[in-house]
C-alpha cells in the first residue's frame, strides 16, 4: 500500500468504494446501521468485510443546546449558562461572523432620552407596522422589555453613541411615532453610529466568554433528533474533521437566522440559508408566514449591500430622476421615514412609471449631501465607506443609487411569546412542542407580523434570546436526567449526507441555486401577481425535483464545502417553495406582501368604513391569519393551514390591545 495519501483522505478511515444499491430494497429500509464498535469487538481491531462506508458519531449530553451563535443565539446561550445549565452552542460560523454583525441601524427602546416616550407608543407603532398580523401579546412583551434590554446591553459595555449630556443617543427611524401616531416622529432608535449590529455582536460575544458555554464552532447542524413529537437534540457535522456529532439535550434552541439567499439580490451574507427553518420542516413541524419577505428600500444598486435606514433618520431623502422628493406623495406625514414596505413599493412604482435614475432608469437616488459633513462623519461613517467601495460615490457630494433589496424574513418557526415552538391544529389550538425553542430571525413570535419596523430586529434578538433562556430555566432544572433516545437516531440525516457526498447526477449545485434565485427574484418580488406567482410555483416545484439530479465533485469528508453548500441548497429550497406557495395562496395585500390583483387588505371587518352594522366574516373568508406551511420533503409538495392572530395583550389594564385600522403613514 503506497504511503502516498491525498490530503482529503488521510485524516479519515480508508473509505472503500460504495457499490450502487440494487433496485430491490434490502430487508430493512434503513441504509445505515448504528453500533458502538462498528463491525469489530471492543478489543479486536479487525474490520469485517461487510462495511462499505463508515461515519464515526460522537455523542454528547448537555442540559441545553443552542443552534446558531448570532445575536439571539449568544444571548440565549449565556442566559442559559448564567442560570446554571450545561449549555452547548453549535454554530457553522465563528460567533462574530454571524450575520448580526452586518446590522447597521439600531435598537428601538422607549428610553425617552430625546423627548418624552412611552413603551405603549412603541407597542402601537409595532402593531401598526405589522399590519395587524403580529401577535399582540408577544409585541407587548418585547416593547415592555425593551428599555431594560438596552440598559442591560449598555451595562455589558456596548459603546452606544451619546448625546451631549452622556445619555444614549436615539435617532429617528421608520414607522416610529409619539402618542399613538398623533405626536409626530419619535426618536427611539438607540444606535452605535451606524454599526450597531457589529457592536452588539462583539459585546455579546465578549460577555459570553465569562460563562462556561461549550462552543462547537464550524459544526453544521444537519437535523433535529425528534422522538414521539419531542425534540431530544441535534445532529451536526464537524466540518473540520468530518465526524458526526449528536448533541442530546432536553432543550434545543434554534437561532439560525433568515434565508435571504433564496433570492438573487439580497443584503444577506452567503451563509443566510435558513437552516433552522429547514430542520423544523424536515421534522414535520410547520413554518409560519414565510411569504412575508421584507425588501429594504435602500440596498446599493448592483452590489446589494445595505445602506441603513438611519440615513433617512438623520435627514437623508429619496429622490427620483426629476429631483423630486417623491415620498411626500406616498406618505405625506412620515415621508421618507414611512414603514419599509411602503417605501419599497413607492420606489418600485416610481421606477415603473419611468422616473427612475441612471441610464436604464432602474433605480432611485438617496441624497445625503445636503447634510453637514460633520454629522455624516460622526453618525454615518460606515455607510460613507460602503457607498465609496461598492458604488464609487462620495456621500458628501453625490447621491447613492439604491434599489429595494431582500433583507429580512418576517416569517419563521412559530413560537409563543415565551419562545416555545408551537404546532397548531384547528381543534386543539396552539400546542407546545416539548424541548424545542426558537428565537431571532429564525423564530416568528410573531412580533413583526407582515412587515418589520426598522431597528426592531436587534431588539427581537436580545429580548427573545433572553426569553428562551428564562423559559427553560422556569421549566427545567440543570442536571436533569435525559430521556432515552433510540441508538440509531439521526440515521436519515447521515444517509442524506452520504447521498449528497457521492451525488453524481448532471446538474451542479451552483446551477440549481442560480435557477432558484432567479426564479424567486422574478416571480416573488416587491409586487406580486397571481399568474406570475403561479408560474413561479410551478418553476420552483420543477427546480425542487432537479435536486435529485445533483452532482457534487468533492468526495472527501474533511472541509468539504461542496457538500455543505449542497446541504445549504437543500435547506434554501425548502424555504423557497414554502415562500412562493404561501405567497400564491394569500389573496390580499398586507404589509410586505403586495398583490397587484388583490390590492386591498382583507380583514374580518372592513375597517375603511364605519364598523357599526358590519358583520364579521368567518375565518375562512378573511386573511388576517397566520399561514402555517408544511412540506413533504420527498415530493416537495407544500400544504398550508391557517392560524388566528393573537389579538389580546399580556395584560389588558397595563396596555390595551390595538384594534385593526387603516394603515397609512
Amino acid at each position: 500500500m503506497a504511503a502516498v495519501c491525498t490530503a482529503s483522505r488521510v485524516l479519515t478511515k480508508k473509505v472503500l468504494t460504495a457499490k450502487a444499491l440494487p433496485a430491490v430494497c434490502q430487508s430493512s429500509s434503513r441504509k445505515f446501521h448504528f453500533s458502538i464498535y462498528g463491525n469489530r469487538d471492543a478489543n479486536n481491531a479487525k474490520v469485517s468485510d461487510g462495511i462499505s462506508t463508515q461515519y464515526p458519531v460522537v455523542d454528547h449530553e448537555f442540559d441545553a443546546v443552542v443552534v446558531g451563535a448570532g445575536g439571539a443565539g449568544l444571548r440565549a446561550a449565556f442566559g442559559l449558562s448564567e442560570a446554571g445549565f450545561n449549555t452547548a452552542c453549535v454554530t457553522k460560523l465563528f460567533p462574530t461572523r454571524s450575520h448580526t454583525v452586518a446590522a447597521q441601524g439600531g435598537i428601538n427602546a422607549a428610553l425617552g432620552n430625546m423627548e418624552g416616550d412611552d413603551w405603549r407608543w412603541h407597542f402601537y407603532d409595532t402593531v401598526k407596522g405589522s399590519d395587524w398580523l403580529g401577535d399582540q401579546d408577544a409585541i407587548h412583551y418585547m416593547t415592555e422589555q425593551a428599555p431594560a434590554a438596552v440598559v442591560e446591553l449598555e451595562n455589558f459595555g456596548m459603546p452606544f453613541s451619546r448625546t451631549e449630556d452622556g445619555k444614549i443617543y436615539q435617532r429617528a427611524f421608520g414607522g416610529q411615532s409619539l402618542k399613538f401616531g398623533k405626536g409626530g416622529q419619535a426618536h427611539r432608535c438607540c444606535c452605535v453610529a451606524d454599526r450597531t449590529g457589529h457592536s452588539l455582536l462583539h459585546t455579546l460575544y465578549g460577555r459570553s466568554l465569562r460563562y462556561d458555554t461549550s462552543y462547537f464552532v464550524e459544526y453544521f447542524a444537519l437535523d433535529l433528533l425528534m422522538e414521539d413529537g419531542e425534540c431530544k437534540g441535534v445532529i451536526a457535522l464537524c466540518m473540520e474533521d468530518g465526524s458526526i456529532h449528536r448533541f442530546r439535550s432536553k432543550n434545543t434552541v434554534i437561532a439560525t437566522g433568515g434565508y435571504g439567499r433564496t433570492y438573487f439580490s439580497c443584503t444577506s451574507a452567503h451563509t443566510s440559508t435558513g437552516d433552522g427553518n429547514a430542520m423544523v420542516t424536515r421534522a414535520g413541524l410547520p413554518c409560519q408566514d414565510l411569504e412575508f419577505v421584507q425588501f429594504h428600500p435602500t440596498g446599493i444598486y448592483g452590489a446589494g449591500c445595505l445602506i441603513t435606514e438611519g440615513c433617512r433618520g438623520e435627514g437623508g431623502i429619496l429622490i427620483n430622476s426629476e429631483g423630486e422628493r417623491f415620498m411626500e406623495r406616498y406618505a405625506p406625514n412620515a415621508k421618507d421615514l414611512a414603514s419599509r414596505d411602503v417605501v419599497s413599493r413607492s420606489m418600485t412604482i416610481e421606477i415603473r412609471e419611468g422616473r427612475g435614475c441612471g441610464p436604464e432608469k432602474d433605480h432611485v437616488h438617496l441624497q445625503l449631501h445636503h447634510l453637514p459633513p460633520q454629522q455624516l462623519a460622526t453618525r454615518l461613517p460606515g455607510i460613507s465607506e460602503t457607498a465609496m467601495i461598492f458604488a464609487g460615490v462620495d456621500v458628501t457630494k453625490e447621491p447613492i443609487p439604491v434599489l429595494p433589496t431582500v433583507h429580512y424574513n418576517m416569517g419563521g418557526i412559530p413560537t409563543n411569546y415565551k419562545g416555545q415552538v408551537i404546532n397548531y391544529s384547528p381543534e386543539g389550538g396552539d400546542k407546545v412542542v416539548p424541548g424545542l425553542y426558537a428565537c431571532g430571525e429564525a423564530g416568528c413570535a410573531s412580533v413583526h407580523g407582515a412587515n418589520r419596523l426598522g431597528a426592531n430586529s436587534l431588539l427581537d434578538l436580545v429580548v427573545f434570546g433572553r426569553a428562551c433562556a428564562l423559559t427553560i430555566a422556569d421549566i427545567c432544572t440543570p442536571g436533569e436526567k435525559l430521556s432515552p433516545l433510540k441508538p440509531d437516531a439521526g440515521e436519515e440525516s447521515v444517509a442524506n449526507l452520504d447521498k449528497v457526498r457521492y451525488a453524481s447526477g448532471s446538474m451542479r449545485t451552483s446551477e440549481i441555486r442560480l435557477n432558484m434565485q432567479k426564479t424567486m427574484q422574478n416571480h416573488a418580488a416587491v409586487f406580486r401577481t397571481g399568474s406570475v406567482l403561479k408560474e413561479g410555483c410551478d418553476k420552483m416545484d420543477a427546480i425542487y425535483q432537479t435536486l435529485d439530479d445533483i452532482k457534487t465533485f468533492d468526495r472527501g469528508i474533511v472541509w468539504n464545502t461542496d457538500l455543505v453548500e449542497t446541504l445549504e441548497l437543500q435547506n434554501l429550497m425548502l424555504n423557497g417553495v414554502q415562500t412562493i406557495h404561501s405567497a400564491e395562496q394569500r389573496k390580499e395585500s398586507r404589509g410586505a406582501h403586495a398583490r397587484e390583483d388583490y390590492k386591498d387588505r382583507m380583514d374580518e371587518l372592513d375597517y375603511a368604513r364605519p364598523l357599526a352594522g358590519q358583520e364579521k366574516k368567518p375565518f375562512e373568508e378573511h386573511w388576517r391569519k397566520h399561514t402555517m406551511s408544511n412540506v413533504d420533503v420527498k415530493t416537495g409538495k407544500v400544504t398550508l393551514k391557517y392560524r388566528p392572530v393573537i389579538d389580546h395583550s399580556l395584560n389588558e389594564e397595563d396596555c390595551t390591545h390595538i384594534p385593526p385600522a387603516i394603515r397609512s403613514y
Binding site: 441504509k31 448504528f34 461487510g50 462499505s52 463508515q54 464515526p56 452547548a88
Partner: protein, 81 residues
C-alpha cells in the same frame, strides 16, 4: 539506536493521553488506534502535515476529555451483494 525526534515524542505523548482519556468512554479506543496507525504511514519529513494533525488531535483530545462527551458510535452502510 535511533532516538525519537521531538515531534515523534510529542505524537507518542498525545497517543498516550488519548488512550488514557478514552478508557472510560465506550467506542473511542478502536478508533483512536486506527487513526494513529493510519497516520503513522506519513513520512517523517512531512512535518507540516504532521503538525497539522497534531494540532487537530490536541483539539479532539480536549473534546474527548470534556465531561459531556459520552461515547463514540458508527453509522455503517453495509456493502451490497
Amino acid at each position: 539506536m535511533v532516538r525519537h525526534s521531538k515531534l515523534q515524542k510529542q505524537v507518542l505523548s498525545l497517543y498516550r493521553q488519548f488512550l488514557r482519556a478514552g478508557q472510560d468512554k465506550p467506542g473511542f479506543l478502536p478508533r483512536i488506534r486506527d487513526e494513529f496507525r493510519e497516520n503513522s504511514r506519513l513520512k517523517k519529513t512531512d512535518v507540516m502535515h504532521i503538525e497539522y494533525l497534531y494540532r487537530r488531535g490536541e483539539r479532539q483530545l480536549e473534546q474527548l476529555k470534556d465531561v459531556n462527551t459520552k461515547q463514540l458510535g458508527t453509522f455503517s452502510k453495509s456493502r451490497e451483494t
